[in-house]
């Protein structure tokens, strides 16, 4: 019985998929403009986009990216002509702009952009010469996650740099940019100076990071791996992403999530339009951008992701519990945000990071 049911469902979805792929690109028969969106798979679920498609006039062709670097490489290799909308990280927009791959976005045609949270309006990232090239799309934070059952108190950044109590039970992401940002936060270097560290500051950072290395169990490079390390007790506290906190809490572990007052590293992906898109195609693309910043999409993302949009379109429609989950209940958290940017001496940062790890 279950089998037949499952089979029927399966058949239905297979048929629907086939119909979609066969008919999808033909939608322009109803005068719909096809917009090609290069994005992360979990952001372009059909039901997230249904409200826009139903209104008509637009169809969406999706293609997916595996990493941000891959997206950049694809566009640099001439992929821009086949894509109308891309999803680069806020800090990466600069690369695309420097490579002349993007066009500035006319915010007048994106009404929902007016609802961007202040921190996103204020950021200089994604902009050049006062023009916006990448509109903040959705965001989150990379907090400190810890085993509340194995730690006495909520940790802050100092746990990764001093004291012996958790020596050999800590983990740090293997990523030069964030590693050095955290050291700078710990050392009290102001957020606005953080990406322009001078030689003296770099030397201090290096010293702190070498001290940190002695306290670490390991550097993690995949979030699944870190989740595993928390679960087996190898690691009790790590600079992390959010998923281990939710996954392991759901599995009954007493997890904690700390957002140090000295600053929290936030991440944000943007929506950006390749340089060649124009005319009716551009109008349709802007319509899609506006939709992605609007309440219909925002609500779906808030529950499905769960992630927060960069606009306040849907915030007030969410229950407090869900707001809490995506960090928008208490908006003051945004005051301590540090957005990732590209340090001018990034090659030296990477070299420093490798020196620390090889020390």
């Amino acid at each position: 019985m279950t089998f037949t049911l499952r089979r029927r469902e399966l058949l239905k979805s297979v048929l629907a998929g086939a119909a979609f792929s066969a008919v999808g690109p033909l939608r322009p028969a109803q005068a719909a403009e096809a917009v090609s969106w290069l994005t992360w798979e979990n952001l372009a679920k059909d039901d997230y986009l249904a409200a826009l498609i139903e209104k008509g006039g637009i169809s969406i062709e999706k293609s997916f990216i595996g990493t941000d670097d891959e997206q950049f490489a694809k566009l640099r290799a001439g992929g821009a002509s086949s894509v109308d909308l891309i999803t680069p990280g806020l800090d990466k927009v600069e690369y695309y702009v420097a490579s002349n791959l993007l066009q500035p976005i006319d915010l007048a045609k994106v009404p929902n952009a007016a609802k961007l949270y202040d921190t996103f309006k204020a950021t200089t990232l994604g902009k050049k010469d006062g023009k916006t090239y990448g509109i903040p799309f959705y965001w989150g934070i990379n907090p400190v996650v810890y085993r509340a059952d194995l730690m006495d108190a909520e940790p802050d950044w100092s746990v990764f740099f001093e004291g012996e109590k958790y020596k050999g039970k800590l983990a740090m992401r293997d990523y030069a940019l964030e590693g050095i940002m955290i050291a700078a936060l710990y050392l009290g270097i102001p957020k606005d100076k953080m990406f322009d560290l001078d030689d003296k500051q770099l030397a201090e950072v290096k010293k702190a990071l070498i001290a940190q290395k002695k306290l670490l169990r390991t550097y993690w490079s995949s979030i699944g791996d870190l989740t595993n390390l928390f679960a087996t007790g190898e690691v009790v506290c790590a600079f992390s992403w959010v998923p281990p906190y939710f996954d392991l809490t759901a599995r009954g572990l007493k997890m904690g999530m700390a957002k140090p007052k000295a600053g929290v590293i936030g991440w944000c992906d943007t929506l950006a339009i390749p340089a060649g898109v124009s005319g009716a195609k551009l109008d349709a693309t802007l319509k899609l951008v506006d939709y992605l910043l609007g309440p219909d999409y925002g609500k779906k993302l808030a529950y499905g992701g769960p992630y927060a949009q960069s606009t306040s379109s849907t915030r007030d429609a969410l229950p407090a519990e869900q707001q809490e989950k995506i960090f928008i209940k208490d908006l003051s958290v945004m005051d301590s945000f540090v957005w990732k940017a590209n340090p001018p001496r990034y090659t030296e940062w990477v070299a420093l990071w490798n020196e620390v790890k090889a020390s």
Binding site: A176, T218, Y346, T347
Partner: protein, 289 residues
């Protein structure tokens, strides 16, 4: 004769083409890139040796290359020590089910490196098999944390991962080793150590060298195992190159380190080949009995 030669060329052409397209061209591109420099996200095509100077001047990159080579050598030696008796036993003491033993030996290779790595975590971890057992017996009261996330753990897992290659190399060598030579040596008064040193070792040397080369190169190229098992000291030259290509967009420097590593590996392999070819036994062993 001319016809045969001509046909030989024609038959070899696709092979040469595949080799050039699949092997030489990417390496050539890598090599060429190592002489460029990078300006934010633009590759500047003015030739420069600055990248090589940076590699040579950097204790970190030199150290990482040296560490990779040392690791390769250590694992090759350990796996040789383990593989000799195993290969001997399979070749000379197993008559039935020989292929079953060889298949068994290769099973770890079928599982994929991530599966193996996580299996070893279960074995070596703080709450893992070994520590749980030691705590249960009361030999230790605190888990031995250095069992996992340490250079020791990395080398254990690397040895486990690449041992089959060494065993296969030596097994083939032992299969073609005539037992009567060992009897002859015994008959002439040689003890077991002398027999190993003067007969077995030289006659299985092609297998040993082939196995060692494979293990060595695979260990040098493995960054996943050190990264996931080696803990905070799990950095490798490969992951450093990866960082430079990926997050730093410094392809020229990454290319220069990769080229340096390739050149050093190439020299070592050539040296080994020369030693084999030059040595008196090498020639006779290679040319066969």
């Amino acid at each position: 004769m001319a016809f045969a030669a001509d046909r030989g060329v024609r038959l070899a052409a696709p092979v040469a083409l595949v080799l050039v397209a699949g092997c030489v061209v990417p390496l050539a591109v890598l090599f060429v890139y190592s002489f460029f420099k990078v300006d934010f996200v633009a590759i500047v095509h003015d030739p420069t040796v600055k990248n090589y100077v940076r590699v040579a001047a950097s204790a970190t990159y030199r150290g990482l290359i040296g560490r990779a080579i040392l690791s390769g050598a250590i694992v090759a030696v350990i796996s040789a020590v383990i593989a000799y008796p195993v290969a001997w036993a399979i070749a000379k003491r197993v008559y039935l089910l020989k292929s079953a033993y060889l298949t068994l030996l290769l099973i770890p290779l079928y599982t994929g490196d991530l599966v193996r790595i996580f299996a070893w975590r279960v074995v070596l971890g703080s709450e893992g098999v070994i520590n749980s057992f030691l705590m249960w017996t009361g030999i230790v009261h605190e888990p031995i944390r250095a069992l996992l996330f340490s250079p020791f753990a990395t080398h254990v897992v690397l040895t486990y991962d690449y041992l089959p290659f060494m065993v296969m190399g030596l097994w083939l060598a032992f299969e073609s080793l005539d037992d009567r030579l060992l009897e002859a040596a015994r008959d002439l008064g040689a003890g077991e150590v002398t027999i190993f040193r003067r007969i077995v070792l030289p006659l299985t040397a092609p297998g040993l060298i082939a196995g060692a080369m494979m293990v060595f190169v695979l260990v040098v190229g493995d960054y996943l195992t050190p990264q996931l098992i080696g803990g905070s000291s799990g950095i490798t030259v490969i992951s450093a190159i990866n960082d430079l290509f990926g997050t730093a967009f410094d392809w020229p420097l990454g290319s220069a380190i990769a080229s340096s590593l390739l050149i050093i590996l190439g020299l070592l392999v050539t040296l080994a080949a020369l030693v084999v070819a030059r040595s008196t036994w090498g020639r006779s062993v290679v040319s066969g009995e």
